[in-house]
Symmetry: C2
Subunit: 275 residues, 2 copies
């Protein structure tokens, strides 16, 4: 049986002697312009937590800092539960690689929380925007640009990648439907990866393509594993906008809803840009 | 000369033998209902980075995870620059305390980035809301509630703490002017502390006071030290709202502007609530 490209990319081998250590390999199927798509790196950290024998509960928060590019090839992830309470667990993570001289280098730093979810009062205070259904929209033709784009079916509602790089941008809002290609039932790993699916807000705001790179990303998970399961292979609606651009960095705030309108994820990132 | 309460609270002694280690003490002046105000804990981590002999540049991001309550008394902060590039530096931090049996316990985990800021294209894409000037508003009378509230002059524009806990809340937006009391020129430490100044959105949304506690907070700094310096002792305008409440947690997104309208900070947190 062939593994889904996401499951292939996220294969992690437990270390023989250290329960907090996992060994993986980058997957060309999720390559970005330079190195892997940031979402797949974040997902590999979520996956390490998911596989950890001491995990308590489900993903609640994940912050990933991109310290350097990930080189093609093997990497290791350390995922350590540093504090466990009755209902929450705090994690410290790092993704490291050996450099050409055999020195271990920090590629990503991260922290995360997992938690036992329980039923409480709830309020979806950011309703899903009222947009056209995915079936009424055309799939974006991005597939010759970068490998990772082949892994997603994206249908832009608003704020598609500028057709002309003419400096004429006016806003930073993008809304798009997205799902795995080929189809794959939603879980925390794929939701983590899709939380980074938005192209750089600067490109839209200025209609100018300058070098960029995410330096930090935080994901808050607002859904239970059961809710993800019931979402199945449906489309998710993603929305992202920037708040401020200054001194070579800008932020992005994002929301991801299930097709039925449940807000699954709120996310934020800070992105470097070169001018 | 008397130290400002903030400078007193943030006094950190460098460890004699480990350059990544700092020793501090909690300050009753910033006590919350149980333990210290979260903003002062975050500021103590920013302060450790600021004092570190190997620091490159200025604060850019800070993520703090609240693993357990901080006990009154001594604590230590480890702040390690794990990767330094030409213009950015990645930090891994922890605040620990000894428990009653002398075991070192993780109280906070954190990551941060510092960076050399440079002039680039810029865009303040989230203009400051058009609100009444602070001088036209009344200072909130919160001072008998918790110690840390005595440290701030807060003037609510919208979304003040409910006068009646009658379950009648309709929205989660708060806007307020805030500055240190007594006055203190703005710097990264005080800005970090003020990024957490918003009372729990759940209390506003439901007009119901249930136990809450921040479990994770991320701050993106969009201002240079020079900009903070020019802000001086002026008021800052803070704005916060929630996006979703579910399974015992809710999020808050926040912005903090200088009185002249520069967006200094965008921030996000996830908060536990008990129902």
């Amino acid at each position: 049986m062939n593994l889904h490209p996401l499951d292939h990319a996220l294969q992690l081998a437990a270390d023989a002697s250290n329960p907090d250590l996992f060994h993986g390999n980058t997957s060309p199927a999720y390559d970005n312009m330079v190195g892997p798509y940031g979402g797949i790196s974040a997902a590999s950290l979520a996956q390490a937590i998911w596989q950890h024998p001491r995990r308590l509960g489900e993903p609640l928060t994940l912050t990933v800092n991109f310290a350097s590019g990930t080189a093609a090839g093997p990497y290791q992830i350390s995922a350590t539960p540093v504090r466990t309470t009755r209902s929450t667990q705090h994690w410290v993570l790092a993704l490291t690689q050996l450099d050409t001289s055999g020195q271990e280098q920090v590629v990503l730093t991260a922290t995360a929380m997992t938690a036992l979810r329980r039923s409480t009062w709830e309020m979806n205070d950011t309703p899903m925007p009222d947009v056209a259904v995915p079936q009424a929209l055309t799939r974006a033709e991005l597939r010759n640009a970068m490998q990772w784009l082949n892994r997603y079916d994206m249908r832009f509602v608003a704020g598609a990648i500028p057709a002309q790089w003419d400096g004429g941008g006016t806003g930073s809002l993008t809304q798009l439907w997205v799902r795995d290609e080929p189809l794959r039932p939603l879980d925390f790993a794929s939701l983590t990866a899709m939380s980074d699916v938005f192209y750089p807000r600067l490109w839209l705001r200025r209609a100018t393509r300058v070098p960029v790179g995410t330096v930090s990303m935080t994901i808050y998970f607002h859904a239970s594993n059961e809710q993800l399961h019931s979402t199945g292979t449906g489309y998710l609606l993603g929305q992202a906008r920037a708040q401020v651009f200054r001194h070579g960095f800008f932020d992005q705030t994002a929301q991801v809803w299930s097709e039925s309108g449940a807000l699954l994820v709120t996310s934020h990132q800070l992105v470097y840009f070169k001018e």
